[in-house]
Symmetry: C2
Subunit: 336 residues, 2 copies
């Protein structure tokens, strides 16, 4: 069955049916001119939006429809996590080719709903329309955070330690495996690929960091460690030194990089789409953060320090290398 057979109202009806129960703060969801939320007193409204375009952000041949939906919402939730916030609600605007099947559209929304359920987010509105070229997803996510707990990018201080959650570079290697159709199999490659297709935003970790007031600054890693660290440095007017040995690399990435004779560090620094949290911690709180655990795993790893001006990578032999903020630039050819 094609989408053109059920029409726009049929589509909206299907979307409404699959949705999880609304968040307690939602007063009015899909079906009016706007949605309405009751906002908890004493906290700020936080909001972010990101587009997820076929042919630009994802290749339809590499993602299932479910994964497209899941990832499009999850990367927005990650931005709320990076403020130390709780996500509450999302608006999903979607442009679809008229000849797409209803089954495919259902799968996209199943992915969206899975992410929404996982992170307690209500789908409260959006827009549906025809697209002339491929799938267009534009999602806005609302959340809230106590005013004194919100973590910006701009308040890193000289002498702070730099931490990162999880491991870096897995998603970029996963994408490379997918794209090149490298003949690699096994649990390791599946886990790397899944990191790319189904990223898990660090909402719980972000809340722990915020509630303990551990971070002077925080950002989620979407462009790669080098690039996102430079955003913190720019906004905070500081520099940073990163210890090569400190950067957390997964066993799976190390193994795969060995097999392919690549440097895992390249993926960690330049890869992006890890959706891990990068944050800075004043020296007197470092011990607490090092000891902190989430579900039996360390919350984060210390990877460097905030310094005055330069952005530097210190290698195994103690040599200092300039760390340039190379990430993806949407309008320039190649890397910026």
């Amino acid at each position: 069955m094609k989408l053109s057979e059920i029409g726009e109202l049929g589509l909206i009806q299907r979307i409404k049916e699959g949705l999880p129960l609304p968040h307690e703060q939602v007063i009015l969801g899909i079906g009016d001119d706007a949605a309405a939320l009751r906002h908890p007193p004493g906290s700020l409204v936080i909001i972010t939006s990101d587009m997820f375009l076929e042919g630009i952000h994802f290749d339809r041949a590499l993602f299932t429809k479910f994964q497209i939906g899941f990832k499009a919402l999850s990367v927005n939730i990650s931005d709320i996590a990076a403020m130390g916030g709780r996500p509450t609600a999302a608006l999903i605007s979607i442009g679809l080719p008229a000849n797409i099947s209803v089954k495919d559209v259902d799968s996209i929304f199943e992915g969206i709903e899975e992410s929404a359920k996982e992170y307690g987010v209500s789908i409260i509105g959006g827009d549906t329309c025809r697209s002339r070229s491929g799938i267009i997803l534009s999602i806005a996510v609302l959340g809230n955070v106590e005013e004194d707990l919100m973590v910006r990018r701009s308040r890193a201080k000289l002498g702070d330690a730099i931490f990162v959650t999880g491991t870096l570079g897995d998603s970029a290697m996963g994408l490379e495996i997918l794209k090149s159709r490298l003949r690699v199999t096994g649990h390791g490659s599946r886990s790397l690929i899944e990191k790319h297709l189904l990223p898990k935003p660090r909402v719980e970790e972000g809340r722990i960091i915020a509630k303990n007031k551990w971070a002077t600054s925080m950002i989620d890693i979407s462009d790669g460690l080098a690039s996102d660290l430079s955003h913190i440095c720019d906004e905070s007017a500081v520099g940073a030194e990163i210890y090569h040995d400190g950067i957390p690399i997964s066993f799976e990435l190390k193994e795969m990089a060995d097999k392919l004779e690549r440097d895992p560090l390249y993926y960690a620094l330049r890869g992006g789409e890890d959706y891990e949290l990068l944050f800075t911690v004043p020296m007197d709180r470092v011990e607490e953060v090092i000891k902190a655990e989430v579900e039996g795993r360390p919350l984060a790893a210390m990877i460097g320090n905030v310094i005055k001006d330069d952005r530097v990578l210190i290698d195994k032999d103690g040599r200092r290398h300039t760390l340039s903020p190379i990430g993806y630039n949407h309008f320039k050819k190649g890397k910026k």
Copy 2:
């Protein structure tokens, strides 16, 4: 100069520079993972989003870049007006072809900024990325409304009177003039065309209606009177009768329709994109609404009544005609 020469960060810098001063409620605007707003206690957060796609919602040959930006934001503000709310902030997600000129991008944002200034809206975030096919605008607008003043679509009651602000059908006739390149000139045609290209959301009128608690239901007219009235009827589980003679038609539309030998009623009922407010009023408040003025003009005109089941148009001779909810359907061929 092409957009590819200044890159994504250059674009974001240009956008930031042109923005009006932030709304007093904005704590954190562009430049972090998410934006943050202080929300006035005792009111609800309201939010809406709409896409505005080249080739679907607008034809680049008919709109200037300024008009594209102005309209994309204004139609979202109209949804906040239709809740009786005050718009506060917007997120602008924009997809642009890499070869677009910086001048054109600046013009789009000048249009967005003009609408933002007019309605006191802060641009607090969004996303910029490359598009493979034409201009993609996806905008989310936040606002707030006192909980007891919010006007939904769903509470129209049997016996209520039906009102509409402004005049209907101008925008549709304006589009027709633009599309057909009809050789019509003069003030009348310019005014109709401007209604299509630069719609003015009825924020002030919406607030007056909400603050006086005049409306049991309200919607903005985006799909045409017949279609948007049917949304109120569906959501409120009522019917409606509309008096042909009551529908406000502008002098300019009447004159142009005469000249072209068309029925102005067709444009008013089916045209859409008027962004006027359609609302229902209990009988004991009707006199107040009829007397109400905004800047010396009547606030709204009474066009019919809420009845039990049917949706009916009553013609000049008192004959009753079924009013079918024909509007634009994004996925079905032709009219739904």
